[in-house]
Symmetry: C2
């Protein structure tokens, strides 16, 4: 702390000596900086410096980092490596440092930063003008500094900000040199020379568009700006071509930044690839939007599509668990969270350009960092003025699809229990074949997991840090998810062409009743002739310690099938009410579609009423109670078969297998209960509180479930399977008793 304070002191001294008269504010469009930092913003920041702790600290950290880099000297090696290798890491580091050094030059008015930026840019200029394609050939769109255009675009998004910051520091001749030999050809390489990368609706292209647009804004090059907003003029793409990940390059023919806003975001702000990729894509969306707002305010970019960019930030923050970690839907790497720097941008931009939601200030405080620009200043001032409130995450339904009509994601929250129900569309090339699947969290810990991706991002030893083949053979397959797999085949035959043309539909979502948070969705054609309808609720019942999950998965088919219904729990088996037999030799459960990656550890015949299974994890107890009959099989599996490079985690599952039936309904409850302390060695509430779960009625109109608990109380839950409108009145006779209610579902304690 003392060191930090001393530095701050030096910093402020340095600043007070700076020639303030240098800063001139004008409305002229040619005033620089203008892109992200603005001349007015710089003036305001300088006026507040030293009185805005979160900003001052962010500035100090950046200064330390950049000063250390300046001390090391400039390195611009000839490109050679994949991600994780030296040249890749160095050029990546350079783009960050350039952007930061530019900002420091503006805020601290210290020429050493401008000179550093200029010197490095000149080195790049010298190298780039004769630079061939990157020697590594794996990408569908090779860059020059990096093995893929995507990273070249990343570079330009940051470096255009640095250029903006030192624009006025450079002579016209220097600017001409850089623009002619570096920036213009760089922008061309990632756009007109790489249309398969640039001319599409995809997070890669968003980076490309932003890169071209931002350098265009700085250079005041209208042609580049138009290319950024609307794509390469007149360029028609092959609609059947695919990229490395198996996704179509450009099926719709759409391109450009506005199309990239239009297509992937639903009106609720859900990004169709899921939060992990939204986080990645977010930065170019927001930083280019900031630039457009500053330079071309008449475009009203933040109001585009009814303000979807700002809505998407709220959606993204809601797609995180109690610790701020994003739910790993589709190809999401676990551990990515709102602590990522892209989210610092998102939170600050949302606060500044949105409606100054004080909840955002609590996230900014946790991030303990702000942008060194006008929006970061606004956040720092908000925090200084004590406006912070906590960011409350409630149950939320986020529609998917450009018009919000391609399913969605429903997040149910009740006390510490959080359920993420995925009924979204395919999710572009990063989508998984997991219709109506879910994952379950308790206070930020995974209870029933979504596997996420099979990749170790940027860890070179694991396939260069890129997608591993098990991502396709395991992580994307249906059996890797908590949903129904029919006849050991993935949804939509595991084919992108089919998956991307289908999606589930919302049946209903209800969070009005605090004690019953619920979502219900239907999907057709995951298998030809088979429909799925799943209703999931978190119910906070007075007789149970914590809210429990009720899960009703209805399967209707035109023929008899085998259905597998897994629970990807974590931890150690405690207890079961069925006799399972472990096998002394472990064999793969199947041959393909992900089954080849599951070892069968034990199997059992199910109980004729309820199969109960308890496990223990993170010093808490969990119990599944599933309605079964004695023809059902129960399989204990573990991931890791046919995994020649140990790319997969050895995680367990319990699978309910139901064979040779046409229509069936999987009904289960999942309880979290009690706790264990290894210090006091006391186990509290270690046993399930649910005595029985029973299906009372199950037809096309209603499913009625009786839940009896160990206190002897019985609860009835009824969901409307056909007409679930809020205002519909229902009358139903069950076991001689009449039940009437209005709305999608009924839940009431029947005796006490």
């Amino acid at each position: 702390m003392n060191y930090q304070k001393a530095l701050l002191f030096v910093l402020l001294i340095a600043f007070s000596c700076a020639k303030q008269e240098k800063v001139m504010v004008s409305d002229s469009e040619n005033q620089h900086p203008k892109l992200i930092l603005t001349a007015k913003g710089v003036k305001d920041i300088r006026a507040q410096l030293g009185t805005i702790p979160i900003f001052d600290n962010s500035l100090l950290k950046v200064k330390e980092e950049v000063d250390a880099e300046i001390a090391l000297g400039i390195e611009t090696p000839i490109p050679k490596d994949y991600s994780g290798g030296y040249t890749h890491s160095r050029h990546k580091q350079n783009w960050f440092v350039l952007q930061k050094a530019g900002v420091l030059y503006q805020i601290l008015d210290d020429e050493k930063y401008a000179k550093y930026v200029k010197d490095m840019l000149m080195q790049y200029e010298e190298m780039y003008k004769t630079l061939p394609l990157h020697p590594k050939t794996r990408s569908y769109a090779r860059g020059k500094l990096f093995w893929q255009c995507l990273n070249d675009a990343n570079w330009l998004v940051y470096v255009s900000q640095a250029y903006d910051c030192i624009y006025n520091y450079l002579s016209e001749g220097e600017r001409n040199k850089l623009e002619t030999n570096l920036f213009k050809p760089f922008a061309d390489h990632i756009s007109v020379d790489s249309p398969q990368f640039y001319q599409r609706v995809h997070n890669h292209s968003t980076w490309g568009n932003a890169a071209v647009g931002m350098i265009g804004l700085v250079m005041d090059d209208e042609e580049l700006i138009q290319r950024a907003l609307y794509g390469i003029k007149g360029k028609e793409m092959d609609k059947t071509a695919k990229d490395d990940d198996g996704g179509f390059i450009n099926k719709s023919g759409k391109a450009g930044f506005l199309a990239n806003i239009e297509e992937p975001f639903s009106p609720d702000g859900y990004y169709n690839e899921g939060p992990y990729y939204q986080r990645y894509a977010m930065y170019p969306f927001l930083v280019f939007a900031e630039g457009l707002q500053n330079v071309k305010p008449e475009l009203k970019i933040f109001e585009y599509k009814e303000g979807v960019l700002l809505k998407s930030i709220n959606a993204l923050l809601n797609l995180s668990d109690a610790d701020g970690d994003f739910f790993p839907l589709n190809d999401g790497q676990k551990g990515m969270s709102y602590y990522n720097s892209a989210l610092v941008t998102a939170v600050d931009v949302s606060y500044h350009y949105g409606n100054q939601d004080p909840g955002l200030l609590s996230i900014a405080s946790k991030q303990n960092s702000v942008l060194l620009d006008d929006s970061g200043l606004a956040v720092a001032l908000g925090i200084r003025e004590g406006k912070t409130k906590s960011f409350e995450k409630k149950s939320i339904n986020l529609s998917d699809g450009p018009e919000g009509k391609q399913g969605g994601v429903g997040i149910l929250r009740n006390e510490d229990i959080e359920l993420v129900f995925k009924y979204a569309s395919q999710g572009s090339s990063h989508g998984h074949y997991d219709k109506l699947s879910y994952s379950l969290y308790e206070n930020g810990e995974e209870v029933i997991q979504d596997y996420g991706l099979a990749r170790f991002v940027n860890i070179e030893q694991k396939g260069g840090g890129n997608y591993l083949k098990e991502n396709k053979t395991w992580a994307k397959q249906t059996i890797a998810h908590n949903t129904v797999t029919q006849n050991e085949t993935s949804h939509y035959k595991g084919k992108y062409e089919i998956g991307s043309q289908n999606h589930p539909d919302l049946h209903y979502f209800s969070s009005d009743n605090k004690e019953v948070q619920i979502v219900s969705s239907k999907v057709r054609n995951t298998y030809s002739g088979t429909d799925l309808h799943r209703t999931m609720a978190i119910i906070n019942d007075v007789d149970l310690e914590k809210p429990f999950v009720l899960d009703i998965m209805r399967v209707t088919s035109d023929k008899k099938n085998q259905y597998d219904f897994p629970f990807y729990y974590f931890g150690q088996v405690l207890d079961a009410n069925f006799e399972y037999k472990t096998t002394s030799t472990l064999k793969p459960l199947g041959k393909k579609n992900g089954y080849e990656h599951l070892f069968l550890e034990a199997s059992a015949k199910a109980d004729d009423k309820n199969s109960k299974f308890s496990w223990f994890n993170n010093n808490k107890f969990y119990t599944i109670t599933s309605v079964t009959d004695k023809k059902d099989e129960l399989l204990f599996t573990r991931i890791g078969a046919n995994d020649p490079e140990f790319n997969l985690r050895r995680d367990p599952a319990l699978i309910v297998r139901r064979n040779n039936v046409k229509n069936t309904t999987f009904v289960s409850t999942i309880e979290s209960h009690g706790s264990y302390s290894p210090v006091t060695e006391s186990a509290l509430n270690a046993k399930s509180s649910i005595a029985e779960v029973k299906v009372i009625l199950d037809n096309k109109d209603y499913t009625a479930i009786m839940i009896a608990n160990v206190k002897g109380n019985t609860k009835l839950f009824i969901t409307a399977n056909s007409d679930a409108l809020k205002e519909t009145k229902h009358n139903l006779k069950l076991n001689g008793k009449n039940y009437s209610w209005m709305g999608s579902y009924y839940y009431k304690q029947t005796n006490k």
Copy 2:
């Protein structure tokens, strides 16, 4: 906090109204309380109350807890259940509440607490006088309130304190009733009626001795006190009988509290069963010692055996990792830590009766709790007066055996790296067959694990919370540990009779050089005709990011054998320099001695020089570099085969298998390096810094190892295998160069 403050206020008001004249201080031995709380202590506590935050808060918590119990009413159910069941838990809860209520009566002088204790004791008296043996039959020594005498003894250790606190509140008639019908027969049941429990040297007996002694001190019953100190007079035990755990009941013939101090503690204070059981045994040792010190100060119990009781507390605190979790040597359950209430006792007693080590105050502060007695008051005053210093854990060697001549445990510490090297004796019935094994920690996280026990203490669903059969078949076996297994057989044939008659010996321990912490030990007869000699060091070398482990295991035998040498790492395989082949079907590695519990996942032929293996865990990178030749096999295993009730964790290991050799030396380095952030997705220093490890010389006098790092620097390490005295001078010619040094080992960078 407000609620707490309000309570404190009420508490102090209540106290100021109390009739202080009731407290009379006298030297009379019949003054009560006298056992743990003393009349003088009560007076001092009352004088300081409200000014000693940690004490006040501890008092508040106890008051809240006891008041809640009083509100619930008294329950003394007829005994019925095993651990974890209702009657067990209730009687266990009662003993705690009784002790606490007694203390509250003394400190707060509120009769409601005395009445509560009296009423409950009278209910116990009513029940106990006709109570048969506990109905559950599994114990070798059944109790009456509980299924095992051990828990009955626990009860009496606590309840004798409660009785002491309300002794003067009771009429003589009431005291006679309780003593005649409850306390005396209770003490007799757990001693003269259960000699197999009482008359031995074992942690169970310590509880028994303390229980009998403490009630004897309160009742002023000299016969009970003598029985406690010296065992049942004239009682000879069958020297060949065994208990439930397979340990001898009483082979030595020794018994009583003093023998229980004498036998299990080494002069350094190491407890022969290991820290988990020491923690469990600690409470009766210390609380009875406190009672003896208070009532019979002439016995000088804290000076007994050169102050071993206080030394043992220091040893125990040193047997914990950076988080305070005890190393799970022998049958230790992971997660037990110095936050356990027994350690609150230990820390407070050590501070008060020892030399007021200010480092203990920092642990007391972390515990955030003190005893409500004279020693807790001393700690609270020390903290209040700002005496706290941090408790520094350094490398430490703890001898084992009553005279410190039966091996020991060496703990090496260097920055965040901590290595626990076990060369101790068998460790009584809770010992594992793991001579010269080790476990490795980094900042409180396990890097190379010791499995610990196969038991879920107090979790009823797992075998009633008792030892599982896999504890014998797996956890105790040699192959479950990081040491050498010969011919798939455990050390000492896995036989307690042999194990308990043998032990390793220290070769040397050296922590003088800050950069080289080192321990070396030899053992004969783990296998007939085979000797083991292991030297382990943590070396902090300027060329490496973090201190690394150097491990030299010399095996000399009179015949050719197969040697297995495992590394129980945690996490995911990253990389190896050898070609391994996974198997699509997993089979157990062997048929017995623990091998039946290991699945073979993959195997490889070793590299002809060094086999390198890297893994990834908790966002850190680790690499083993092991000297191998191409005849060596490398086996990837996973625990969990032949585990019909899923009692074992599915943890991985890499095993170096060397077959058909007589003498051999396993030489390896283990590095922790770098880090990964899932938020920034950057991998730092993800690769090993060690280029080569080579054995230059290996004979009965010296082993010399060359370690070359990726910077091109080469280091030489030489350990003296025969004469390792500090003052011995060595001269050695290696590759034409002369090396001379004094002491056990040589380590120096040879070129730079």
